[in-house]
Subunit: 575 residues, 2 copies
Amino acid sequence: MPKRILIIGAVALGPKVACRARRLDPDAEIIMIDRDSTISYGGCGIPYYVGGDVSDAFGLCSTSYHAKRDPAFFKGTKRVDVRTGVEALSIDRKARTVRVRTLADGSEQDLGYDALVLATGSRPFLPPVPGADLPGVTTITGLNAAVEMKDRLAKGQVGSAVVVGGGAIGLEMAEAFTSLWGVETTLVEFWDQVLPTALCPELAGILRNHLEDNGVRVLSPDKVLKVLGDAKTGVTGVLTENHGEIPCEMVLFATGARPNGELARDAGLAMGPSGGILVDDQMRSSDPRIYAGGDCCEVRNLVSGGWMNLPLGSLANRMGRIIGTNVAGGAARFPGAVGSFCLKVFDYGAAKAGLTVPQAKAAGFDPVAAMVVQSDRAHFYPEAKMMCVNLVADRRTRRVLGVEVLSRNGHGAKARADAVAAILGRGATVEDVSNLEVAYAPPFASAMDVINAAGNALENILDGRADVLDATEFLRLMEETDTKVLDVRSSNYPGPYQARWGERWLAIPQDELPERMAEVPRDEPLLLFCNVGIRAYEAQIYLKEQGLTNTRSVQGGASVAKTLNPDLVREEPQE
Amino acid sequence: MPKRILIIGAVALGPKVACRARRLDPDAEIIMIDRDSTISYGGCGIPYYVGGDVSDAFGLCSTSYHAKRDPAFFKGTKRVDVRTGVEALSIDRKARTVRVRTLADGSEQDLGYDALVLATGSRPFLPPVPGADLPGVTTITGLNAAVEMKDRLAKGQVGSAVVVGGGAIGLEMAEAFTSLWGVETTLVEFWDQVLPTALCPELAGILRNHLEDNGVRVLSPDKVLKVLGDAKTGVTGVLTENHGEIPCEMVLFATGARPNGELARDAGLAMGPSGGILVDDQMRSSDPRIYAGGDCCEVRNLVSGGWMNLPLGSLANRMGRIIGTNVAGGAARFPGAVGSFCLKVFDYGAAKAGLTVPQAKAAGFDPVAAMVVQSDRAHFYPEAKMMCVNLVADRRTRRVLGVEVLSRNGHGAKARADAVAAILGRGATVEDVSNLEVAYAPPFASAMDVINAAGNALENILDGRADVLDATEFLRLMEETDTKVLDVRSSNYPGPYQARWGERWLAIPQDELPERMAEVPRDEPLLLFCNVGIRAYEAQIYLKEQGLTNTRSVQGGASVAKTLNPDLVREEPQE
């Protein structure tokens, strides 16, 4: 009798397992079940379907050569037996059977397996908020729900919406609502920044401004206490902790996802801290005949060493291939992940890999970060776009822990993060980033690329050569203290800042410092300021040579600080 | 007495050394000499200056904050003593002096040093062709020569030009001549493809077509035997081996560069196979007081283990920082390079790292390559652009040796090459590329990204699961043999191919193979064909299961083959 491979779940990971296993083992019987009727779709495309970039839901269910990935397709071209509308109820590991129910008629049966693959995915997490069950409250659950949502939008039934959660899906959906449908959209985020698990406060602040420039109202930090409305009229608004009532006709909760791990837990398989299935580096659960991957499993974090749940379509695909190889008798390995991530938010692209500073602290490191703002290509090349890089390393070992990149050149931002990600899990040091061999040509990079510059800057901080503060802290000091600033830009820049801050804002161009040292106060802390931080760093070195050791340069300079708080500078009156 | 650091050469590496050393050592005396009058310019920007993307030569000589990097700038903000128009004649290593001549008055003097840095750069290589000394024959030597060239173009004195050499500078200059100035441009390349040291024949073929679509005539392989004209009228054309006389008013030789190593060689320093200065991993020459870096030195190739000369502005900057650290008493290390490279050619971006197949063979490997053509983002996302990846690995060890990427999404092409480059020097295997953790979101990548797919494809080849041939070989077989093709695309594609090839071109859609096996010839070799190669691979697996083992699938399928040879398909008559 041929080996039977049974796969539970037919989106992303499941189909990949099935196809790969079929290619390696022509004889195996491969059965894939799913309780939904729609299978093998690109769930990550849902925001773009709702937002109109993808006009037809079919696009998300088809191959690159426009064949629909439905059960007939899997049967015809892959010889995989796909059964939709079939739910897995329980696993009998001893008997090696799975109890399944056909939803149409409620009938049940046992399906035997030689190898079982759990591809049960995740489901949106809905916080326990009163009213969250009202009509008009929704989550991103699957393609069918998305079709319904788009239908409502297309019919003009939604004039305003509240998106709860400023993570990737929240931001993507806020963009979808606003840009195509002109829905008045409010984003509510519990923490004091968007993308709190992906970006530092400065990069998040730039993104927040960009969201607001594009018509998304961002309430952060804030919390939805209650969804307003009744069962008949549906949602009429939300009540927030800090901003009172926000009227709206739709509420989307994008407050994270939870692994669908119940089937595994009930079968006694080992589970991880996020509620996902624990797997070894061959993607086997604690029962070696049962594999798990994708959103329902835990992944080893190659930087922190801990477990994480990382619901990403890309990871599901790569894991799926590994499992497909292994259920067909191979021994492919999946060592873990560094948590690479990217996102488009209107005109910006953000990319991240590894740990943020708070994540690094939580993992027991002593993180130090450097932020560099620089052009994405040679500064003399046309259409250069600014790129912000935040690089995080451990103080003692100089090991790189994470990188965050933000730019209007999204593919370029991803290029930098991906290159660092490639070495993050391999114990790379800051010096490795300084010398990271990224390709150079003026249209695509600087000769000293921004990612190398970030490595350099972090080296200087770790070596005690640069004393820095980040823009958020700088703005706090400006508001809460009377610390003085020394602006070392050329003389046409500081005017509006001096108009705003008066005598607290000194201005001496960097190249005039030697002859104007008498003007520099020697006995108090000084914040050194320029457009991005380069000249402030140079000035700091010079001042240190002159015996002034109580200075700090503002990372990202005006280009970041002014974006985070336009009130830093008084607008010149227009004549 | 303070330490004296003497730097010979004030473009790219030299200034970087000077600035870094100054930051670390406030007391050192730093002298930088250059025989030219223009210093510290971005030489890599010259094609974009000539082509008009950079309007002003000043842009190439200024900082990102628009300060001109001239001797006054270096004196004022960096406290570096720059002496232009001063040539180094010889080094007395025992006395630790350099004999220099001031070009203005011919006076000579000895400059002592504690640390000497050779940043003498490279010069264009001019092949020994009769007439190469005629007026109107030029090379890219420096900014002053470029200003002259642009002046001639702007005055309308150049109606047609011949660019000799299809490397990076040749292609960039051909674009510069054509796109802004409308110069009728002919590119002559000795080898049978452009970018012979960077790309496989298929990617190079796509680029060649793109050059021709943009009005550049490409003669390859061909050779300039003679430059025609006389000293009075200047250049009137070139005589080529294969295409006879090409009339023109300007000839640009872009036939490579040679390190300026004479000063070092005459001083008895160890030299490498390319004529560059040999350095250790702290960038010291065989005399530990003399450092060398940038275009004039040799770099350890981290893939082949051999030496190479790699004249790149990015490398010069990174090396410059290392040398700057070390002349100031540090011990920074530069382990070598994998040869990352990128290039814009009209609308395309090309990127490469590591070794091509011929380079890998020359280095003693047994290279195997996989080519994958796939969308640069989720195939359902708008404006998806095709991306071609050629991945090279060693057959026995499965070590990755090189990667080449071509796409109209240049930043995206660079993203893939940079990520692979990051692990190339660290002994990465094909499996590492299959699992390379590149960030995913539909606007920026596929869930199974093209770079992972290239790893997968190469695994399949190395495992003997996929038998492939490349498009160039496929086209040769079509012309020179009567091998049959089995086109497994859906039925609306093969028509024009069948019209061209008649009975040699069988067509059975992949999903119909099981019921139409009787139509498949069993006793002769078959070339399996689809749009990019995916369905051909699937068909191959199925056919193998049916006992047909003599098939090969065409890598890149129609998307590459048709581009290389439009004659592969007979146009349908327009009605």
